[in-house]
C-alpha cells in the first residue's frame, strides 16, 4: 500500500487493484472528489482504511467512471466513509455513484416498523435471579401438571375410558422390548462376569469363593440387573421418546392432536409409558439370566467351583424376594424413564436445539430418578426386612 501526496492536494491509496483517490477536483474549484477506481472486490479490498484528510470546502462528489467491478466491500467502505463525513458535518452528493450502489445504500436506510419481532431486553443481576426463580416455579408447575395428568390418564385407562389404540401399544412394545434384547443380554452377561471377578477378590481372603454364587444371586437380581436395564433403556428408549415427541412438538403435530380434541397424554404418552413399564421387568428377567450365566462361568473356570456347588449355593442363599424386589424396581424405572422422556418431549422448545436439549435432559433426568428410586427402595426394603 502506497500513500502519495502530490503537489496539488491529491491522496492516492493503492491496494492491489482497488484504487481510491481524493482530489480537490478541477484545479481552483475546491470541490473535493473521491475517485473510486479498479476492482472493488472482497479479495482485493482495502485493509486498514487510511485517514483521508477531508477539507470542509464544498459538497464531496464521487467519480466512478473507472470503477470496473464492485461487491459488498465497496458498500462496506462507503458506509464507513459516509458515516465519517456525517460525523464531521460534511455534505456529499451520491448521484455519481453507480445506480446499484445508490439503490442498495437507500435500501439499507429504510428500516422496519419497530413493532415487529419481540424484543428481549437485557437483564440486570437482580432481574435474572428473579427470572431464574420464576423458571423454577414454572418448571415445577409443569412437572406437577404432567404427573397429575399422567396419573389421571392411567386411572382412566383402568376404568377403560381412554382412547389410545392397542396397535400403538403393541408397536411401542416391539420397539421397547425385543429390539433391546441384544444389548441387554450383552450388558447383563458382562455385569455378572465383572461382579464375580471383583467379588472373588475379598472372598478369596476368607477362602469363601463359594459365596460368589450368593453375591451373584443377590447382587444381580436385586440391584445390578434392574439398574443396568434402567440405564440402558433411559439412553435407548427414553431419549427416543423425547426426540420423537419433541420433533412432533416442533412440527405442530402435538397442537394438531389437541385441537382435534385428542389428548396427547392418552394418545402418545400413555402407550409409551405402558409399553416401557410392561417391558422393563421382562428385560430385567433376561438380564438376570444372563448375569447369573456370566457369574457362573467365572465361578467354574476361574474359581474352580463345580456347576452343582454354584447352583446349590445360589438356590440356598437367594430368596424369591430378591427377584421380586428387582422386578418391582424395574417396574418403577419403567414409569420414571418413560415419564421423563415424554415430559421432556412434550415441553420441548420449538427448534433443532430444543429437541437435542430435550433428549439430553430426558436421559440425565431418568438416570437421576433411577438412582434416587434405587436408594429409596433399597433403604425401605432393608428396614422392613424384605
Amino acid at each position: 500500500m502506497k500513500n502519495h501526496t502530490t503537489g496539488f492536494r491529491e491522496q492516492i491509496i493503492v491496494a492491489d487493484k482497488a484504487i481510491l483517490r481524493l482530489t480537490d477536483g478541477q484545479e481552483g474549484t475546491q470541490v473535493p472528489v473521491l475517485h473510486l477506481q479498479g476492482l472493488w472486490r472482497e479479495e482485493n479490498c482495502l485493509k486498514n482504511l487510511p485517514e483521508l484528510q477531508l477539507s470542509a470546502a464544498g459538497k464531496l462528489s464521487f467519480d466512478c467512471r473507472q470503477l470496473a467491478d464492485w461487491d459488498s466491500s465497496l458498500l462496506l467502505f462507503l458506509r464507513w466513509f459516509l458515516r465519517r463525513l456525517e460525523e464531521k458535518g460534511l455534505q456529499w452528493d451520491e448521484s455519481s455513484l453507480p445506480a446499484g450502489v445508490q439503490r442498495l445504500l437507500q435500501l439499507s436506510h429504510t428500516s422496519l416498523p419497530p413493532d415487529e419481532g419481540n424484543l428481549v431486553e437485557d437483564r440486570n443481576f437482580v432481574q435474572s435471579i428473579g427470572e431464574w426463580c420464576w423458571d423454577i416455579i414454572r418448571i415445577s408447575h409443569n412437572i406437577l401438571a404432567f404427573t397429575g395428568e399422567l396419573t389421571l390418564t392411567a386411572l382412566k385407562m383402568f376404568l377403560g375410558r381412554t382412547r389410545f389404540q392397542v396397535r400403538d401399544v403393541i408397536q411401542q412394545l416391539a420397539i421397547a422390548g425385543p429390539s433391546a434384547l441384544a444389548i441387554i443380554s450383552l450388558i447383563g452377561f458382562l455385569m455378572g462376569v465383572i461382579l464375580a471377578f471383583i467379588g472373588a477378590i475379598p472372598l478369596k481372603w476368607f477362602n469363601g469363593e463359594i459365596y460368589v454364587a450368593s453375591l451373584i444371586g443377590i447382587g444381580i437380581l436385586r440391584l445390578m440387573a434392574p439398574v443396568m436395564v434402567g440405564v440402558v433403556m433411559a439412553g435407548r428408549t427414553g431419549a427416543a421418546y423425547a426426540a420423537e415427541l419433541g420433533t412432533m412438538q416442533t412440527n405442530e403435530e402435538i397442537d394438531a392432536y389437541v385441537t382435534m380434541g385428542i389428548p396427547p397424554m392418552e394418545f402418545l404418552v400413555l402407550p409409551r409409558c405402558l409399553a416401557l413399564t410392561l417391558m422393563l421387568p421382562f428385560l430385567c428377567l433376561f438380564a438376570n439370566l444372563m448375569g447369573i450365566a456370566g457369574g457362573m462361568l467365572v465361578g467354574i473356570y476361574y474359581l474352580n467351583l463345580t456347576f452343582l456347588e454354584f447352583y446349590q449355593q445360589l438356590i440356598r442363599t437367594t430368596k424369591v424376594a430378591d427377584l421380586t424386589v428387582g422386578l418391582f424396581t424395574c417396574l418403577v424405572f419403567g414409569v420414571l424413564v418413560s415419564a421423563c422422556g415424554c415430559y421432556q418431549g412434550l415441553y420441548c422448545s420449538r427448534s433443532a436445539e430444543g429437541v437435542g436439549k430435550a433428549a439430553t435432559e430426558a436421559v440425565v433426568n431418568s438416570i437421576v430418578c433411577i438412582v434416587l428410586a434405587t436408594a429409596v427402595i433399597t433403604i425401605v426394603t432393608v428396614i422392613v426386612k424384605i
Partner: protein, 255 residues
C-alpha cells in the same frame, strides 16, 4: 446453446427410486434473468431445484454451470461452484442455534478474508438491506415467519452470489409482505446484477418478477411451456398451462 447461459439443463430426468418425477427437461437460464420454475403442487419443482443445487443427482442428463458439469468433477469442484450460489430455502433454513448475525457471519468467516470487524459491519449491512437493521442479536425462533424469510435472504446474499435460488419466496406470507418480498428481490437483483431462479406457484409473483419461465406438467412429467410468463399467458395454447396461469379462469389478468 447461447453464449451467456449461466445454467444449462440438458435432457434431465429426475427419479426418486424407480418413480420418474420429470423427464427430458431441457432449458437454459441466462445472465440477469429472473427465471421462474412453476407448476402445480407435487409436479417436482422443488426436486428440480434440489437437482440444480447439486443436492440430488440426475438420473439421466446433464446440468451445466457456465459450461461445467456439476457431477463430472468431484465434490470439491461442486463445492467451489456452489460457493457462487445463494439459496433462500422455503422456511428460511436459518440455523436455529445461531443469532441472525451469526447466521450471516458464518459463510463470511469461512470463505472470505474480511476481518472480524468488517464481518460484523457486513452482517449489519446485509440485515439492513432486507429491512432487519438492529435484529442481529435475535435468534430465528424469536422473529416472525416473514422476518425469518428476509433474514434467510440476507444470508443468501452474504457472499455476493452471482446466482440466487429461491424456493417459494412468498409462500406463507401475507399479500402485503409477499409483495414487499417480491420488490426486495427485484431491487436486489437490479442492484447486485445477479441471476435469479425462483420456484413458485404464486401467480402474483410469477407475473410481477418473472422474465422467463418453464412450466412443469405433473401429468406428462415434462416441460409443457417455456417463455416469459406474460407472453405465455397471451400465446400459450396448452390447457393445463392456461388453467394454471389464469387460476382456472378466475384470476384477473395482469394488464
Amino acid at each position: 446453446m447461447s453464449e451467456n447461459a449461466v445454467i444449462e439443463v440438458r435432457n434431465l430426468t429426475m427419479k426418486y427410486g424407480h418413480r420418474v418425477i420429470q423427464q427430458d427437461l431441457t432449458f437454459s437460464i441466462h445472465k440477469g434473468d429472473v427465471f421462474i420454475i412453476m407448476g402445480g403442487s407435487g409436479c417436482g419443482k422443488s426436486t428440480l431445484l434440489r437437482h440444480l443445487l447439486g443436492l440430488n443427482k440426475p438420473a439421466k442428463g446433464k446440468i451445466l454451470f457456465q459450461g461445467e458439469d456439476l457431477w463430472q468433477k468431484g465434490p470439491s469442484a461442486r463445492d467451489l461452484i456452489m460457493r457462487r450460489v445463494g439459496v433462500l430455502y422455503q422456511r428460511g433454513g436459518l440455523w436455529s442455534s445461531m443469532t441472525l448475525a451469526e447466521n450471516i457471519a458464518l459463510p463470511l468467516r469461512e470463505y472470505t478474508r474480511y476481518t472480524r470487524r468488517e464481518i460484523s459491519e457486513l452482517c449489519e449491512l446485509k440485515l439492513s438491506l432486507v429491512g432487519l437493521a438492529g435484529f442481529g442479536n435475535y435468534y430465528p425462533a424469536q422473529i416472525s415467519g416473514g422476518m425469518q424469510k428476509r433474514a434467510g435472504l440476507a444470508r443468501a446474499i452474504a457472499l455476493d452470489p452471482e446466482l440466487l435460488f429461491f424456493d417459494e419466496p412468498s409462500a406463507g406470507l401475507d399479500p402485503v409482505t409477499a409483495k414487499r418480498m417480491d420488490d426486495l428481490i427485484l431491487q436486489l437483483q437490479a442492484s447486485l446484477g445477479a441471476t435469479l431462479v425462483v420456484v413458485t406457484h404464486e401467480l402474483a409473483s410469477i407475473f410481477a418478477i418473472g422474465s422467463n419461465a418453464v412450466f412443469l406438467d405433473s401429468q406428462r412429467r415434462t416441460i409443457t411451456a417455456a417463455g416469459p410468463p406474460k407472453t405465455l399467458l397471451a400465446t400459450c395454447t396448452d390447457q393445463v398451462v392456461l388453467q394454471f396461469l389464469t387460476r382456472d379462469g378466475s384470476a384477473q389478468l395482469p394488464a
